[in-house]
């Protein structure tokens, strides 16, 4: 394990915002368990991708860690039971996104015995072929824990060239969220081990672990844990500036390497792979302890929470249960947010259940949400241009979208927007810019779908036309052949004779 390069050269990404962290408040208390609720609702198909087939039915007994769904490919990630008990059945629970939608969940009645299936660690993983490691991680239900829940296996193997560098993303740039910092503080060795596992899964030559420079003692903790590990893998721990959105995959890659991920490509296209530190720790648990991904650390914080803290919580726990574990709400709670204040989703109800990607529950009071004034017209101040990490022209995008000129917005690279919220935050006219962009992207998506449908319909139409023409041609050919036969010498008589013969034969067989 080398641990060199104190002089790691960092680069800047464009724009971004320096925001108040508010992280200390949830880091003061030690990590605790939220405990299991009486009923858990394990979301199915919570990751990006399809849901696999159900393996259990109503009334079945289930053990903690038991797979609930099957998996046919890398995009169908199995879900596992976080507790032992009885399967009640399928149900629909409120989902965080899109607002007002519902999500299919398996309801399990917790029997409180916490009986686990026998762990299935991947022995001698360091000597295993990479495909076997990926299969194992997939079977243990791993998805990206940074929020997007992209299936880990689908990220580890695909049609791209060699991966030379694995980046572990510990740059937790949104205010209030501290679950990754808490993880790195309490389990640095799991993060390091997970980095080795993930690097082995893609045969990467080196690992960069990025943490923010205002994380107190985290880099040292990781370095200490690194010093106790053995191996030939090059591993570096780098402190990056705490600027929002430093933790964005593309921004972090630019900070660390100076390279930009192609707009229509993936980090893998330039030999890089980026995973969240929590995903790494989960990979370590899956391989070393054979433990499937059934719980994660969630920050429950904000001025509207009695005792802000970080909690280990089971996937499928209702948000209300977490809030109760953190002492309940304070007076004047105005808004409940899943995620951070910059890009999180406001929840209409605390019945929403945790998914593998839920990293923060934030309760805000009317004090910091001073009623937003009515949006004013855009004054073209360009503040949004200055902060946009994707180097877009947000004000031009807004004007295009406000006038329903979606194709113009596409030309202005609307699809490169990462929805970080920086533009809306600095807008002096309080225009909800991100809402416009999301809506615009959805409209462009629908339009593309329409176009694909139209193209498909056109293909079908053309195929039908061709088929009809073919039939017509065949008929024509038959008719011509018959005509030729009739015109041959004695053709007509022969034909009539043949028809009489046929009729006779038919009559005979009918008798």
């Amino acid at each position: 394990m080398s641990q060199a390069s104190a002089d790691f050269r960092l680069h800047d990404f464009h724009g971004g915002l320096a925001l108040d962290g508010h992280k200390a408040v949830s880091l003061e208390v030690p990590l605790a368990s939220a405990g299991l609720p009486e009923r858990v609702y394990v979301p199915i198909g919570q990751h990006q991708g399809e849901a696999g087939d159900l393996l259990l039915g109503p009334g079945d007994q289930v053990l903690a860690g038991q797979a609930l769904t099957s998996s046919a490919d890398d995009f169908e990630v199995p879900a596992h039971a976080p507790c032992s008990g009885t399967v009640v059945g399928l149900c629909e629970r409120p989902a965080s996104h899109p607002p007002g939608s519902r999500r299919r969940c398996i309801e399990i009645l917790n029997d409180g015995r916490d009986e686990w299936v026998a762990p299935t660690p991947l022995k001698h993983w360091a000597e295993c072929p990479s495909g076997k490691i990926v299969d194992h991680l997939h079977a243990m239900g791993l998805v990206g824990l940074g929020g997007a829940m992209f299936p880990t296996a689908a990220k580890l193997r695909g049609p791209w060239g060699a991966i030379h560098t694995l980046i572990l993303n510990g740059a937790e740039c949104e205010p209030w969220i501290s679950c990754d910092e808490m993880l790195m503080r309490t389990r640095p060795e799991a993060v390091i081990r997970g980095g080795q596992v993930l690097a082995a899964a893609v045969a990467a030559e080196r690992v960069i672990i990025a943490v923010e420079d205002d994380m107190d003692g985290i880099a040292d903790a990781l370095k200490k844990a690194l010093a106790q590990q053995h191996g030939s893998l090059e591993m570096v721990i780098v402190e990056v500036p705490s600027v929002y959105p430093q933790g964005g995959e593309r921004q972090l890659i630019e900070t660390l390497t100076g390279l930009q991920v192609p707009g229509d490509g993936l980090p893998q296209d330039i030999g890089l792979l980026c995973h969240n530190v929590a995903t790494a720790a989960a990979a370590s648990d899956a391989v070393v302890h054979g433990r499937p991904l059934t719980e994660r650390i969630v920050t429950v914080t904000g001025p509207g929470i009695q005792r802000p803290c970080n909690l280990r919580a089971a996937v499928g726990t209702p948000v209300a249960h977490l809030v109760a574990a953190a002492g309940g709400y304070r007076d004047g709670v105005q808004r409940l947010v899943l995620g951070g204040p910059m890009s999180g989703t406001a929840l209409s109800s605390d019945e929403v259940v945790l998914t593998k990607g839920s990293h923060c529950v934030l309760a805000l009071t009317d004090q910091e949400l001073a009623p937003r004034p009515e949006p004013m017209p855009c004054i073209n101040c360009g503040d949004c241009v200055a902060v946009c990490p994707a180097s877009l022209m947000p004000q031009l995008l807004f004007r295009a979208l406000a006038a329903d000129r979606h194709e113009q917005a596409r030309d202005l690279s609307l699809l490169e927007c990462i929805e970080c919220g920086c533009c809306a935050q600095v807008c002096p006219s309080q225009i909800p810019l991100v809402d416009y962009y999301r809506h615009g992207k959805a409209r462009l998506g629908l339009k593309d779908l329409d176009q694909r449908r139209a193209a498909l319909a056109k293909r079908r139409y053309e195929a039908r036309e061709q088929r009809l023409a073919q039939q017509q041609a065949d008929r024509e050919a038959r008719r011509r052949a018959r005509a030729e036969r009739l015109q041959k010498a004695g053709g007509a008589r022969d034909e009539i004779q043949a028809a009489i013969e046929r009729a006779k034969a038919k009559k005979r067989s009918g008798d």
């Binding site: 990404f13 464009h14 925001l19 607002p99 007002g100 593309r250 630019e254 930009q260 991920v261 192609p262 707009g263 209300a320 709400y329 709670v333 808004r335 409940l336 947010v337 204040p341 910059m342 890009s343 999180g344 989703t345 406001a346 929840l347 209409s348 109800s349 605390d350 934030l362 805000l364 910091e368 949400l369 001073a370 937003r372 004034p373 009515e374 004013m376 017209p377 004054i379 073209n380 101040c381 360009g382 503040d383 241009v385 200055a386 994707a390 180097s391 877009l392 022209m393 004000q395 031009l396 690279s413 490169e416 919220g421 809306a424 935050q425 600095v426 807008c427 002096p428 006219s429 991100v434």
Partner: protein, 342 residues
């Protein structure tokens, strides 16, 4: 428990249009104060008249266009327009100057184009250009600064002159005087060399007669705005740098024909424009490089008008001309989008 929904970000806003506009007004205070010390009470009458007419026209147009009156009247944008206009007209200009100026600034340039955020041209400069063309005599009658005046008109005399357009017992020839730029222009017409023109009393050592102090006031206010993050450095830098470079080159080539760079920068309204007009977000460029180009363009056109044009100072026309190029500038100065090759 149920909660109301709202879009991200879930943080209080950091900047507001009305606060930005108020900060611009604060930044004008040093210049206004210097103006008062040098030219007397006139500036306050001009500000009061311009603001009054501006609010009146804005209110009328908002009513006619059925827009939320209170929201737009309280955003201070029209006040900024009016105060900047007042700073550009002579202190004793009669009231109809402000009325006509604000008619063109607020009604034509701003509201007829769609109100705040939609005007293609800088409203103040449209107003200034309109009165420059409509009332060339009134607009050329600048007061002599305190140091060169037999006595600045008092408060009541100023009030009478501004509100009636009558000078009364004031010795008009005594108290008015050509500005340095007027002198340069008429001197050039008489085929005088610069050193001969500069023998006039208005050209003294730096800071002797007050024009420079007013400009320094604007500079101080502008730098404060920069510090506050209300304006960005590109546009003012473009104006000042382009002025200095071009004026210095010409001056080095032939100091007899071309005024010195400091005279170009401190005479007329180039400095106030650099920090308060060229930085207008609505009618200016929104990209960093675009702002620089916009500022350079304003400086170059202003110098050209001073050299060859029919008006002693051409800032208003320079800004309006550059306003026309903003969509083009914005289009070709877009930053390179992340991950997209140009």
């Amino acid at each position: 428990m149920q909660f109301p929904l709202a879009g991200a970000p879930h943080l209080p806003p950091t900047k507001r249009v009305d606060r930005v506009m108020r900060q611009v007004l604060y930044a004008l205070l040093p210049g206004i104060l210097a103006h008062w010390l040098v030219f007397g009470w006139g500036i306050f009458f001009q500000i009061a008249l311009a603001v009054g007419f501006a609010l009146l026209f804005e209110w009328l147009m908002l009513r006619v266009r059925q827009r939320p009156v209170r929201m737009f009247l309280s955003d201070y944008s029209v006040v900024v327009t009016a105060v900047l206009f007042a700073l550009c007209v002579p202190p004793l200009a009669p009231w109809w100057i402000a009325a006509v100026g604000m008619l063109f600034a607020v009604v034509v340039a701003k509201q007829l184009y769609g109100g705040l955020g939609f005007n293609l041209f800088n409203p103040t400069m449209v107003g200034v250009a309109a009165v420059f063309i409509a009332f060339p005599i009134e607009l050329s009658q600048w007061l002599a600064p305190r140091t060169l005046s037999p006595g600045l008109p008092g408060f009541l005399d100023t009030a009478r002159a501004v509100l009636t357009g009558q000078t009364g017992h004031l010795d008009w020839d005594g108290i008015t005087r050509a500005t340095p730029l007027d002198q340069l222009r008429s001197g050039a017409m008489d085929r005088l060399r610069i050193p001969e023109i500069r023998e006039d009393a208005v050209f003294s050592r730096f800071g002797a007669h007050g024009w420079d102090w007013i400009v320094l006031g604007y500079l101080a206010g502008g730098l404060w705005l920069l510090r506050q993050g209300v304006i960005r450095w590109q546009a003012p830098t473009g104006v000042i740098l382009a002025t200095l470079v071009v004026a210095t080159l010409l001056w080095l080539v032939d100091p007899d024909l071309h005024p010195s760079p400091s005279l170009q920068l401190f005479a007329g309204s180039l400095m106030v424009a650099a920090f308060f007009i060229v930085t207008d977000p609505v009618s200016g460029s929104a990209t960093p490089r675009g702002r620089l180009i916009f500022g350079i363009g304003v400086a170059l056109i202003t110098l050209a008008i001073r050299q060859w044009g029919g008006f002693p100072d051409g800032v208003a026309f320079a800004v309006l001309l550059m306003n026309m190029f903003v969509p083009l500038i914005d289009r070709y100065t877009q930053p390179r989008v992340y991950g997209v090759q140009r």
